[in-house]
């Protein structure tokens, strides 16, 4: 089930960059170059971007314009990257963020 809008009644068929591959927690996913990482993840059905440091609560996309920081993840090894405004590149490594780490809490 695709969450992409194939053709929009007003916007038509939206122009996309070339298809690129990236990994999400080790799993290979496809997205479009230049779209926000969060858009590619959403299209792939992923909801949880990170878990909070103290209470281990899940967070996902909230504002989608880079203000709220709910959607931050570890991108190419760097934590706290706002995925909703960071363009997707070929070969990126994206990881769920636990606190500020890429390692699940039970293994930390």
């Amino acid at each position: 089930m695709s969450e992409r809008i194939e053709e929009h009644p007003i916007l038509g068929v939206q122009k996309k960059g070339k298809t690129v591959k990236f990994t999400m927690d080790g799993k290979e996913i496809e997205g479009y170059e230049g779209e926000p990482i969060a858009a590619a993840l959403k299209a792939a059905g992923l909801m949880v971007h990170r878990y909070t440091q103290k209470e281990h609560k899940p967070r996902g996309i909230f504002c989608a314009i880079g203000r709220c920081t709910d959607c931050v993840m570890i991108v190419d090894g760097v934590p706290n990257i706002r995925t909703c405004i960071t363009p997707l590149k070929d070969g990126m490594t994206v990881q769920t963020q636990y606190g500020v780490s890429g390692i699940p809490f039970e293994d930390q």
Partner: protein, 531 residues
């Protein structure tokens, strides 16, 4: 330290407009914006705007955005993107984070056009993935082409909640309910009506009890509230949803002004903490001006005019034009802005409960409470008349500043007059030629072309249709009423998609003639479900 005549913060509708005016007058202008692209929120606005010609009415927001960018290019405006202004200090020193670098600039004048941020409400489960802002939904579907969710509950019945609900439907999402704690629909009735007629239920005086789910939203419970905002036990309603969308107002992003020491006030009519300023955006600090939502929440159309005003007063402040030129230019803009600030939804009427139209007609109570005008209420409005043959039925029942329908009808079948907020009148002695321009040009999608009696026991209803796939001629389906409930069987007679209609397709359906004044939307039968 690099120096500019004018530094503008924010490349949205007001900031760009200010930049264009100032650049045209010879000022050395730069605009900083934290985003990757200019245009602010305009490129997410896919609906046709209200107003009159001078406000670019019936043009879609993203098209206006492109026009504005072209105009800025032509005027030689320099826009620096991915540039977050983090400080505004004494003597107009502006500190900007560009990439990972902190840069200092000096300006002789500054226009703050930072816009607004979305408000939020909290409830158990509000931090779950799947609870998103209405702006996030717009960003995902209209900029990035990704559906924000499959089944969605919208909280907030202001124009943002209504417009975004419609856009979600256009993107192929299901909107299960539109909920608002207020007892009345907050936005334009026409925006509510076009959502309600597709079958979305409105729950006024209701709010969210909790969002459910462990890892992400799987459901939501709402309940009715009393006049003290306490839940009424036993009124709970549950919906299975994967997304909850919050459209609960906007607050000015005025932090830079406070930081700079501008005199501020807390003004609920303007949306929160705003700088004290005059009508042209002059703050308490000489040479620091404001435009757009940062000085009071309105809309893009007024923000663009305010931006032009700020650009002009900044040019006068720096001596690029004299006060006579300024006065002349401002006078024209005064008139345009005043036109937009009229009617029931004008800023001066915010929070007031208006019972009658300017014409003295009772406002539809159904519209305020359920999102649609009742069949028993519609006849009292001057756009709704009956006669032989095809004629426009204009279901525009509130005084809003908008008049494209009057302009596009070459046959003068629709009359609003000089007062832009007057309700449109269906002129009965003018001959309608069924061109459809009124239907397509009505930003509120409130005009229908009806032939009440085709002579064979049937009637035809032509309605604006902005969904995909377009049903083919001959498709059988169900006609829905203003309330979104099924009224009768219907067959598609034609679907017209002319360039002049600008993506508003005109769907004509045949219904039994007794439903001519009730059938207002077409739904493909579920076995071939589309919408």
């Amino acid at each position: 330290m690099k120096r500019y005549d004018l530094i503008i913060v924010g490349a949205g509708p007001s900031g760009l407009s200010a930049a264009i005016e100032a650049a045209k007058k010879g000022l050395d202008v730069v605009v900083f914006d934290e985003n990757e692209k200019p245009g602010g929120q305009l490129f997410k606005q896919i609906h046709k705007f209200f107003g009159s010609k001078e406000h670019r009415a019936k043009v879609r927001g993203f098209v206006i955005g492109q026009q504005l960018l072209d105009e800025a290019d032509e005027a030689g405006v320099k826009v620096v993107l991915n540039a977050t202004v983090i400080g505004l200090y004494q003597d107009k020193e502006v500190v900007v984070r560009i990439g990972e670098e902190i840069c200092h600039y000096k300006a002789d004048a500054v226009v703050i056009a930072t816009g607004a941020a979305e408000n939020m409400v909290t409830f158990p489960g509000w931090t779950l993935p799947g609870v998103i802002g209405a702006g996030a939904a717009q960003t995902m579907m209209n900029l990035h082409g990704v559906k924000p969710g499959k089944r969605i509950l919208m909280l907030g019945s202001g124009n943002v909640g209504l417009v975004v609900s419609f856009q979600l439907l256009q993107s192929g999402c299901e909107v299960v309910a539109l909920v608002d704690a207020a007892p009345r629909v907050g936005g334009y009735g026409v925006h509510a009506a076009k959502v309600a007629r597709t079958g979305v239920l409105f729950y006024l005086s209701h709010t969210i009890v909790s969002a459910e789910g462990d890892e992400c939203v799987t459901g939501v419970t709402i309940a009715e509230i009393d006049d003290k905002f306490n839940f009424i036990p036993g009124t709970e309603k549950h919906f299975d949803v994967d997304t909850i969308c919050l459209a609960v107002g906007l607050s000015p992003m005025s932090q830079l002004l406070k930081m700079a020491g501008a005199k501020m006030e807390d003004n609920p009519k303007r949306g929160g903490q705003v700088p004290i300023c005059d009508e042209y955006g002059r703050t308490s600090i000489p040479g620091v001006f404001v435009a757009g939502d940062v000085s009071g929440i309105e809309e893009a159309s007024s923000a663009m005019i305010e931006g032009r005003m700020a650009g002009i007063v900044a040019a006068e402040y720096l001596g690029y034009i004299d006060d006579k030129v300024m006065e002349t230019e401002l006078a024209g803009l005064d008139k345009a802005l005043d036109g937009l600030r009229q009617g029931m939804f004008a800023p001066k009427n915010r929070g007031k409960s208006i019972e009658k139209t300017e014409e003295g007609i009772d406002i539809s109570q159904n519209l305020l409470k359920k999102g649609f005008v009742g069949d028993d209420e519609i006849e009292r409005f001057p756009g709704v008349t009956h006669r032989k043959g095809i004629h426009p039925v204009i279901e525009c029942t509130q005084n809003i500043p908008c008049n494209p329908c009057q302009d596009v009808c070459g046959k003068k079948c629709i009359s609003i007059g000089d007062n832009i907020t007057s309700l449109p009148i269906a002129v009965t002695d003018s001959e309608c030629v069924n061109c459809g321009m009124c239907v397509a040009s009505c930003s509120g999608q409130a005009i229908f072309l009806v032939d009440e009696d085709c002579g064979d026991g049937s009637a035809t209803v032509t309605l604006p249709y902005e969904f995909l796939p377009l049903p083919a001629e001959g498709t059988k389906g169900i006609a829905l009423g203003r309330n979104g409930q099924e009224v009768c069987e219907a067959t598609v007679v034609s679907v017209k998609s002319l360039k002049a209609f600008d993506k508003t397709n005109l769907l004509t359906m045949r219904v039994p003639k007794e439903y001519a004044m009730k059938a207002r939307f077409f739904r493909v039968k579920t076995e071939e479900a589309a919408v």
